[in-house]
């Protein structure tokens, strides 16, 4: 049986044409963004390692997943089509006539919520280079007609910086996924998109990709992810580790260690911590890696980041680091460099709301935070960015 085809996302229009052809012929294919094509040595020969049973009716997307190590998540086409239909209903997308793409389509969020949704529902797909070409993206927004756009949280602040004060009335659905929901940016987003219903989409690559959806107005906190979609079950494991079952999720994963089928009854963890309230509504508590102990005190970085986001309209990144005593800590990075009023406002808020153990080890700034191909801050790359400037360091 013929091996799995690999589609490299380079030219968006060409990539979409390839996607159409391969999806329609039901032969399994793998999608990889050109910038990720050499992300791991095993990518050079992986197609032969996908077992014959998975070489029809499936597709694979390359992701860093919850561990940061590249892996392919392999999904079943018909299940993802089913999810696109569920999202259409849950997100009240019937009035939507087109979707404007601002993220790579190899990113599972854009792949399912936009490309596959547009294919399943017969809506128009508008390709752009996203915020990498802001003038083109702005024109797409200006000419939008009953449009849906899908963004990741950090892009909210970038939109405000680039298009603040402008109104795009043709956008009627605005979705966020991939990282923290930009709750603090909602007033500005509602001014910019006065006719848009805004949604917080929650999921992960392994879920391909959706687990929950909530309307922005149905919650007051970025951590509120709402209720599981039909066909999805969530539960908290030990130490509030979020575990999920889903009929839409990946059926196998392939990484440097080998091929790993996922049994339908196997609870998967995605690295987030969460718990449900009495009504079954879920709240994120952070990433497992974002909650740690420092001098015996539990530090939940999402709480600190909430404070930072309330004071700082720009982008925020962070990375973990130990202090000279060997205690776990973290470093904040702001972009662009803040002026004195923003910096003092941020520091006043940190002083007022967080004890000394919760403060960052350092606050740094940089002109531009490195972003991954999925539009999220690349914290690993941020850690080694050369043009960082020290704004403050904690005296220990």
């Amino acid at each position: 049986m013929k091996s799995v085809q690999v589609l490299i996302e380079r030219d968006p229009a060409r990539f979409v044409a390839d996607l159409e052809n391969h999806w329609n012929c039901k032969k399994t294919f793998a999608c990889i963004h050109e910038k990720s094509a050499t992300a791991a040595p095993w990518l050079s020969d992986f197609p032969e390692r996908i077992p014959p049973a998975y070489r029809e009716g499936h597709y694979a997307l390359l992701t860093s997943g919850s561990t940061g190590a590249p892996k392919l998540v392999i999904g079943r086409q018909e299940r993802s089509e089913e999810l696109a239909g569920v999202l259409h209903s849950v997100q009240d997308s019937e009035p939507v006539r087109e979707t404007i793409v601002a993220l790579p389509l190899t990113y599972c969020y854009a792949f399912v919520n936009q490309w596959l949704w547009s294919k399943v529902t017969g809506r128009r797909l508008v390709l752009t280079a996203g915020l990498a070409r802001p003038e083109v993206f702005r024109e797409s927004l200006r000419h939008a007609r009953d449009a849906m756009i899908c963004l990741v949280g950090p892009q909210a602040a970038m939109l405000g910086a680039m298009f603040g004060g402008q109104r795009f009335t043709g956008v009627i659905r605005l979705h966020f996924a991939g990282g923290r929901f930009p709750q603090e940016q909602l007033p500005a987003l509602r001014q910019m998109f006065p006719n848009a219903v805004i949604f917080n989409n929650y999921g992960c690559a392994e879920a391909l990709p959706r687990l929950t959806v909530r309307r922005a107005e149905d919650g007051q906190a970025a951590s509120d992810i709402g209720f599981p979609l039909p066909g999805v079950e969530l539960k908290s494991g030990e130490a509030n580790e979020l575990l999920f079952l889903s009929r839409y999720r990946c059926v196998a994963q392939l990484d440097g260690e080998g091929f790993h089928p996922v049994a339908s009854s196997q609870w998967l963890a995605n690295g987030d911590l969460a718990r449900a309230d009495g009504q079954g509504r879920w709240q994120l508590l952070g990433r497992a890696s974002e909650v740690f102990k420092r001098y015996g005190e539990k530090i939940a970085l999402p709480n600190v980041l909430t404070t930072v986001n309330q004071q700082w309209p720009g982008q925020v990144g962070y990375y973990r680091e130990k202090d000279r005593a060997g205690e776990d800590g973290y470093v904040l990075i702001l972009s662009p460099p803040p002026d004195e009023s923003h910096l003092s406002g941020l520091m006043q808020a940190l002083r007022a709301r967080h004890p000394r153990t919760h403060w960052p080890l350092r606050i740094e700034c940089t002109a531009t935070l490195p972003m991954g191909t999925n539009g999220k801050v690349d914290s690993l790359a941020a850690q080694t960015t050369e043009d960082r400037t020290l704004l403050w360091r904690q005296r220990l």
């Binding site: 004195e340 003092s344 043009d387 960082r388 020290l390």
Partner: protein, 87 residues
Amino acid sequence: MATATLTTNIEKLKDLALEVFLLSPGEFNLDLKREQIETWDSLGVVSLAVGVQETFGYHLTQDEAINITSIRGLIAVLEARGISFDE
């Protein structure tokens, strides 16, 4: 990564206060008083004493550390120990 080069004792003291009390450069001035800085609490007193030892090589006594109630008060204590602050 870019960092500033410290030269004078005033600059060293300013940097120390920023780091100990989580202040931005614009918030610092020599007339700052303890009651104006919520982080000049008991932990702040200890951190300040450790910082003074590391920065100026002088070990504040417990009474000194507790009774200093302003940046100028800290300067006065250090100047009495021969550490010069030329504004």
